[in-house]
Symmetry: C2
Subunit: 340 residues, 2 copies
């Protein structure tokens, strides 16, 4: 029997297998009295700081060919490398406390290029109220950047993927599908505005919005939408054991995105299944909606249902279709070759 390849397993399944290795047989993470949330189940791992706070930590590896469209400047690559991690810190409701950056680069990379990278990283970190506090440099065949971000949040305020209950309202910050349309425009060489391109090239971690949502006490669960809205709904559903009914005509989509596409099917495809938006997906206790309505640009897009109901999209004509579990996955699960 041939060894199974990672490409035939998929990212989330492989994470789940590795998470078992990082756990003791009794299910408790090994050697760590202080681990509140371990590998694989949330945007960040969570460590107990013994007082009223906990520490959250996340890491993300990016590569030039797969993660940075050709049109990006080195400053934007730096910004993006910090943003992907700071968005995960925000998703926990935490205040970022520092970022470290490991950079592998071809030996013929210009010093000016690396300095621009660093300036972009620092700019994004500063935007989120923190800084790049350390890192590592080495040579590598392809520009590869691994950022790790740390954050701090009161245990009473931390927001996890679990916690949503049937009846809670589902909300997103900002707009969905903007980064997806930017990528499609680049690939098809169609013109789009600077605003749309920036959602893809310089995504804004929702640090301030997330802190306010965490402080409000109204949110029951939260994560970011960087892998696409549909994937995030599936992740929340699995951890919270709920289903979702999403109302198609409430999805917040920029006018330019609506005008870019030729059909409503295509629009729904963009809004649900493309990644890169770095918005927050939040579930809200309906009794406390007032507390969060003025915090930021927040749209109610549906509600939590029972787990058994699944994850469905309600059309303007009240037709229900299942939202599929697909979007951005680094390790795509390909059909297994049955003959092997």
């Amino acid at each position: 029997m041939k060894d199974i390849k990672v490409s035939s397993v998929g990212e989330r399944a492989l994470i789940s297998r590795l998470s078992e290795i990082f756990k003791a047989p009794d299910g408790k993470e090994k050697g760590q009295e202080g681990v509140l949330i371990g590998a694989g189940s949330d945007d960040c791992a969570v460590l107990d700081l013994k007082g009223e706070d906990c520490l959250v930590v996340t890491t993300d590896m990016l590569h030039r060919t797969t993660d940075f469209p050709e049109e990006m400047t080195p400053w934007q690559m730096g910004w993006m490398s910090a943003a992907v991690n700071l968005s995960d810190i925000a998703a926990m409701g935490a205040e970022p406390t520092g970022v470290v950056m490991a950079i592998g680069m071809p030996a013929d990379t210009g010093v000016a290029f690396v300095e621009e990278l660093a300036k972009g990283m620092q700019a994004c970190a500063e935007f989120c109220g923190t800084a790049v506090i350390g890192g590592d440099l080495d040579t590598h065949v392809e520009l590869t950047i691994t950022g790790t971000a740390l954050g701090r949040v009161k245990k009473s305020q931390i927001l996890l993927r679990r916690g949503a209950r049937p009846g809670d309202l589902v909300c997103v910050t900002g707009y969905t599908g903007s980064a997806g349309v930017a990528l499609e425009a680049l690939q098809s060489k169609k013109p789009v505005s600077e605003t749309i391109l920036k959602t893809l090239f310089e995504p804004i971690p929702r640090t301030k919005e997330a802190r306010k949502l965490a402080e409000s006490g109204a949110a029951t669960s939260m994560m970011d939408t960087s892998d696409g809205l549909a994937m995030s709904l599936y992740d929340l559903a699995r951890q919270s054991h709920v289903g979702f009914r999403i109302r198609e005509n409430t999805l917040p989509i920029l006018r330019e995105v609506r005008e870019f596409v030729s059909s409503s099917e295509k629009l729904t495809e963009l809004a649900l299944y493309t990644g890169g938006d770095f918005e927050l997906l939040i579930t809200i206790d309906p009794q406390k909606l007032k507390k969060v309505q003025n915090i930021c640009n927040l749209t109610v897009i549906g509600e939590c249902t029972k787990y058994e109901t699944g994850i469905v999209l309600e059309s303007p004509g009240y037709k229900l279709t299942t939202i599929e579990q697909r979007g951005y996955q680094q390790l795509k699960a390909e059909p297994v070759d049955k003959s092997s």
Copy 2:
């Protein structure tokens, strides 16, 4: 004028340039009231946890072709990826509190290979009393692993690269040159023992020893020797503003390493200028030497002198030669092409 390439600048010089970007014009790191030690000056960045403790964090990127000799097993690659980071945590005198691992791998990597990697990572983390608490997986042209380790230490006990004073004793844990001779044996296809190979393939982070040294109150500065003893001496010298007189005949070298080489010049070369040993280099207040003598296998190899005296090696015949600033650097500084 052509853009200067990173390969003509060298790792330490480039780190120093980037550290300027990660600092505000007034020299204080931006946006971070809580940063005690920022990018570029120590084994770890240090964050103030507001109480009596601080948090230390370090990151290191490894690649299959440049960091893992062909003979290494996937389990050993995993162990090594955790060890390089946990050694940096030890070097601060800190207790490790968690490791996160970002893994980029070719799509045709076997699941069994990745599971062995994960087991090696977890084994090393457990050996150091901690665990892998999170990570990231994606596909990449070459196996690339970025580990990030966190640790915690009382502010009153933290050991930095600065702090050594003229008159302090210089000590190292374990032996020097063992990993270097292992690498040379592999390259020249000469036989060496399993013990020697293991120093290269499964380096032991000196976590427990480091904690005891930090608790003793006798150490004035500390770092690890992963880039080689000479490079570490230069790093300590720069941060502590001291010089060193190292006594050649006190360097702790395994008998097998002595027997492997043909000349005493070659032996000194191995002991000073090869990396991979992951031992601790410590300076000790001579009044307090007794407090640390029984902590672990610790050898006094010389003493701190005035900065102006430089870093010198004293031969058994009392001849002094300058120890050169060279060893393991990821970005090797090559001679600049004057014609460009």
